[in-house]
């Protein structure tokens, strides 16, 4: 017994579904090669569906007036008339109706669905039924996800862009011109290209000096730490600062340090912390809009290193001295090994800079780093035995009149 599938043929190159308008033969009818079995309506026209085999038409036959995907099986031709009659009605194994058009181009879905599938020969044995292959409605969705290798079209689209490193975006160039900046002096960002960010940073940062009539020089790239500290200091340029100096007798403090086996520096930190606690204005700093009142007093100590001046921070300087001492020990270790991280040296609210070990330093003013309210500069004791202490303050945050005398009375 042989059984041949009758499939809905591809009647035009753009046809995806067809509709049987009527069957001219019924299951059980004899069929010769060339006989018209049914009428099919394609996307272009209506045409006759011919038989390619001799035999008898057998069901299940596809229904009329339904959109059927091309290549679906719509009937069978068998050589046994008894079997043809027995197969009967159109109830089983019908090709599903094609999905309704969504208004998007059906070609897009079919294209991307069928795009990479190689053309394969049809199944060889006639006895194997060719099942229907409904066109998936919107598989374009799956393939739009980001993938690593650009396709040829994408590669062609991107070719030549960024071939040459450097330059500046049109916007950045315009900005630089308006701000009176020389693009040649600005270092690029991503891809060595100068963008608006770099121009703005240059505008707000310190201007490079012109070295035209200066001696020859060689350029040295700073270490990241040095660069970071320099940036921090540069930012403090805008802080309106004033300085108040008093002469104080620190001998009791030194004595206390020796007696308690504590570091003088630590006691100094503690003293300042206590003073700040009494005068909370000294723990505030001005942000672009509002005053930030900090909830903790973090005191940094300026330390001189081969990399330059760095400022390890003792967090919550009101804690017990032994805790502070332990933190200080760890920080000093890191400084020694050049392992200080931004978390270790940033964010202090008060700074202390102690040049007491240089006997000739009578007095000096320190710079208030951005983000802190004040810095205390401690010099060496003078000939009168008193130490000049200079408080440099951010005038925006602090009204200092009372601070220094009071704090140093502690």
């Amino acid at each position: 017994m042989s059984k041949t599938a009758v499939t809905l043929p591809l009647l035009s190159d753009t046809m995806e579904t067809g509709r049987l308008t009527r069957w001219l033969k019924q299951p059980g009818d004899p069929v010769k090669v060339g006989d018209v079995l049914a009428e099919v309506e394609s996307d272009k026209a209506a045409m006759d569906l011919e038989a390619f085999a001799d035999g008898y038409l057998a069901g299940p036959v596809a229904p009329t007036d339904t959109e059927i995907p091309v290549k679906s099986t719509i009937a069978w031709i068998v050589d046994d008339p008894a079997q043809a009659k027995a197969e009967g009605s159109s109830s089983e194994a019908l090709p599903p109706a094609a999905p309704a058009d969504t208004g998007t181009s059906p070609s897009a879905a079919a294209h991307s669905a069928a795009g990479s599938a190689p053309v394969s020969p049809p199944p060889a044995a006639a006895a194997t039924p060719t099942g229907p292959t409904p066109q998936p409605a919107a598989t374009a969705s799956a393939s739009c996800a980001a993938s690593d290798t650009p396709t040829e079209v994408v590669a062609a689209a991107l070719a030549g862009r960024g071939d040459v490193a450097g330059g500046a975006s049109p916007f950045a160039r315009e900005l630089a011109t308006e701000l009176g900046l020389d693009l040649a002096q600005i270092r690029g960002g991503r891809g060595k290209r100068i963008g608006a960010a770099q121009v703005l940073a240059a505008a707000l940062g310190p201007r490079s000096p012109t070295l035209n009539f200066a001696p020859d020089y060689r350029l040295e790239r700073p270490s990241p730490l040095k660069a970071a500290m320099a940036e921090n200091i540069a930012r403090s340029v805008r802080t309106p600062t004033f300085h108040v100096t008093i002469a104080a007798d620190l001998a009791p403090l030194h004595a206390a340090a020796q007696a308690q086996h504590d570091s003088f520096t630590l006691l100094l930190v503690r003293a300042c912390a206590l003073a700040v606690r009494t005068h909370p204005d000294f723990n505030a700093c001005w942000t672009s809009a509002e005053l930030a009142r900090r909830e903790r007093i973090d005191v940094a100590i300026a330390v001189d290193t081969p990399d330059g001046l760095i400022t390890p921070v003792l967090r919550d300087a009101l804690r017990p001295l032994d805790e502070l001492a332990e933190d200080w020990r760890i920080l000093k270790g890191k400084v020694g090994k050049r392992r200080l991280t931004p978390a270790d040296y940033s964010g202090a609210t008060f700074y202390i800079s102690n040049l007491g070990q240089y006997p000739k330093v009578e007095q000096f003013d320190a710079i208030v780093p951005a983000g802190a309210t004040a810095v205390l500069a401690v010099s060496a004791p003078g000939t009168d035995g008193l130490t000049r202490l200079t408080l440099s303050c951010d005038h925006l945050a602090s009204m200092p009149h009372a601070f220094l005398p009071r704090s140093l009375n502690t």
Binding site: K44, D101, G115, A140, V153, A155, K192
Partner: protein, 334 residues
Amino acid sequence: METLRYWQALNHALDTEMASDEAVIVLGEDVGLYGGTYRVTEGLYAKYGEMRVRDTPISEGSFTGLGVGAAMAGLRPVVEIMTINFALLALDALINMAAKIPFMSGGQYAMPLTVRIPSGTARQLAAQHSQRLEHTLMNVPGLRIVVPATPQDAYWQLRQAIRADDCVIVLEHELLNFDQGPVDEHSEAPPPHRASVRRTGSDLTMVSYSRMANEALIAAKHLADDGISAEVIDLRSLSPIDWDTCATSVRKTGRLLIAEEDCRFAGAGAEIASSLTERCFHYLHAAPLRVAALDLPNPYNKRLEHQIIPQPEDIAAAARTLALGHNPLEEAPA
């Protein structure tokens, strides 16, 4: 409001114009008895007869030229050139006659000629039958070109083309013929060459036309899933081009992607990129990005054909590099 297929919308447009103006005639190969190779002229022969729906021999150069002459003599011919590939045979009629006669006659002759030309890449029709030659026609002053991407636009723009006294070329797309969409035959149409913002967005502007505009929309939907908001502009017209709509968008987003089916080199996108750069230079964060077909004749092979024409995933990938400022072909930045 009804839902029509693109070819039906064109069919309705023709029918409506032919019913209201006897001067409207249709010419082309197999437009009459056969109803048109894409069914656009179905039923018109039966309704309007042989004089008004004329089957021509396979003589593109001559019957397009005939359309020119008939237009000069007061008819409103709608010439169908079966595909843009065959329009090559009619370039003398289009470029030397239709585009030049009104100019050379000092306006004494109008050119109420409409030329409908299905274009674009279909399925494995190979090199000589898959071309997109819009750039060739764009470069000709004297020709107007509309490129409807939806059934609604197809309806409106064909009617407007027929009513125009200039030569208007309607570049249809072979793969759009069976697209369905809403068509309102009674509401007022927008100006024929005005672009349409089919999706609003803020991260980048995608400018496209014809079938690619629909593909760009698909890409935009998927980009939204990645948090990238793309504005999609359907030009609807390639000559003239609605620069204002495009420029407003590019000034807003600062990033321009052009999706075209034309070959990249000297394609339609080259003009679009250039003009919008001139207009929006100081708002751009990056150079415009053109996603176009590769500069190759269309291969017959199905897989290769798919690879050379931009797919929605190509548009999306390119859009990602533009929006995120990352070019996968560049080395890692310093």
